[in-house]
Symmetry: C2
Subunit: 274 residues, 2 copies
């Protein structure tokens, strides 16, 4: 971690009464920042705002968050900035104060190695045994309750897979552990609806906006993974990453995945994930 | 909050990289402490141990936790002590280190007012609209992913109810928001099985151990609340609290609830909730 601001002050500490710590009562965003400009800023702010509305937080002014993102990433060409918002207030007792204010934690982290290479060669994935719980009250937003993702990650530790595929309890495909997923079938894009669980990724939204005509959001049963021509995952940090295998089913990296990667690069000057 | 220890040192801060804060990657316990003696210590430690095993944490030595509980509650006749264990390690990336160590946060809080009175007169409850997600991987343990409970608490804010009743997505009764629930039907006790969601409360376990012959753990459909003769809720801090109403259905505080309250008091010298 490079620099960190807590409520605008340089600090790497929060109090032990913080409700994010005690109850996962909060939200987060992870953004790419290039020379002080956060990538797809408005989309991140829109999702954060939707999350605040869902759990009853007063969204901090975007201009405040932007200034803090720029402060922590100052001097870095490329960095990953994480924004965590937790509900302010006392830690004992679940009851939240109505329209609560937030504690803001904004921190800059190193831009990971190998992103361009992974986008080129792809990664292998496995279907995790853990099934995501169905919770429409939290579906789509990027809240702090991530123990499912932690346990799913432990499943692929020390395997040949770099990613896990998450299904819900009804065996629908939801996402990768830390990325959204798209299937290519007969030149069309399919991606799971995320109303019951999962996170509506910013890059997923960007692809849906750009390729709406060729893309369908729908329930995807696990067997459809076998039938797909190409499969890729995407998130804000890693961009579009082809999957070369899911369990024993191998995939060739195909023309549609490459077309989207190229499209994503157009009009941007730097990292290939943009 | 009175005193707080973080990894044994007096502190009210954790780092912003703490995995409990970032991913709710941890567990907690809330205990009553009377003159330095934590109530039902071994049962709390057993549940914490079960949680550690489930999510892959190395449980800190009980003697270390006990010493820290006694340190933070020193000089207080009655207090509530909260133990939070979070996985140690880096904050970016869900992947946990195998058999991770914990960050220990042990804090003493004021013993709440009015506990004895609530146990005497009971409280009104409402059935929350939020449905608990079904997640057997986390069912029963007291993990930090509590945003569901926060949102359910917001539902009963500014109502005449002091507690919310939580159902799962299949309309089974699971618990109150921060307590377990028992129904009395024809002189028998019924309490929900908690394998799919909910927390296996320490006082619930104590009641099951003491009244096993008269008590059944089973799936409880919401309609059974209407048919119950008595209903009570219980947790470690508040003891056994009768419900006088759930929505429009009113209950008399009955002989079985009083019998259990008296039984709970036997052999203890202090607060009526013990």
């Amino acid at each position: 971690m490079f620099e960190c601001l807590v409520n605008g002050e340089i600090s790497t500490f929060v109090t032990t009464t913080n409700r994010g710590l005690n109850y996962a009562d909060g939200l987060f965003e992870t953004l790419l920042v290039h020379n002080g400009r956060p990538r797809r800023w408005q989309a991140h702010m829109d999702r954060l705002g939707a999350g605040c509305e869902r759990i009853g937080l007063v969204m901090p002014p975007q201009v405040v968050l932007l200034r803090e993102v720029q402060t922590v990433s100052a001097g870095l060409v490329d960095s990953v900035v994480k924004i965590v918002l937790t509900r302010d207030g006392q830690s004992r007792g679940y009851m939240p104060v109505e329209n609560s204010n937030c504690v803001r934690i904004v921190s800059a982290h190193i831009y990971p190695d190998g992103v361009t290479e992974l986008a080129r060669v792809g990664v292998r994935a496995r279907i995790c045994e853990l099934r995501l719980a169905i919770q429409p009250a939290l579906g789509g937003i990027k809240h702090l309750n991530r123990l499912e993702q932690v346990l799913a990650s432990a499943e692929i530790r020390e395997t040949d897979a770099a990613e896990g595929i998450l299904l819900d309890r009804e065996n629908h495909v939801v996402s990768a552990i830390s990325a959204n997923i798209f299937l290519v079938m007969e030149n069309r894009l399919l991606t799971p609806r995320l109303d019951l669980c999962g996170v509506r990724g910013v890059l997923r939204g960007h692809i849906l906006a750009g390729f709406g005509q060729r893309c369908e959001q729908r329930r995807i049963l696990v067997d459809m993974l076998l039938e797909a021509d190409e499969v890729f995952i995407c998130n804000s940090v890693r961009g579009i990453v082809p999957l070369t295998a899911i369990d024993d089913r191998e995939y060739k990296i195909g023309p549609v995945t490459r077309e989207l990667q190229t499209w994503l690069l157009e009009g941007t000057s730097a990292p290939s994930t943009w």
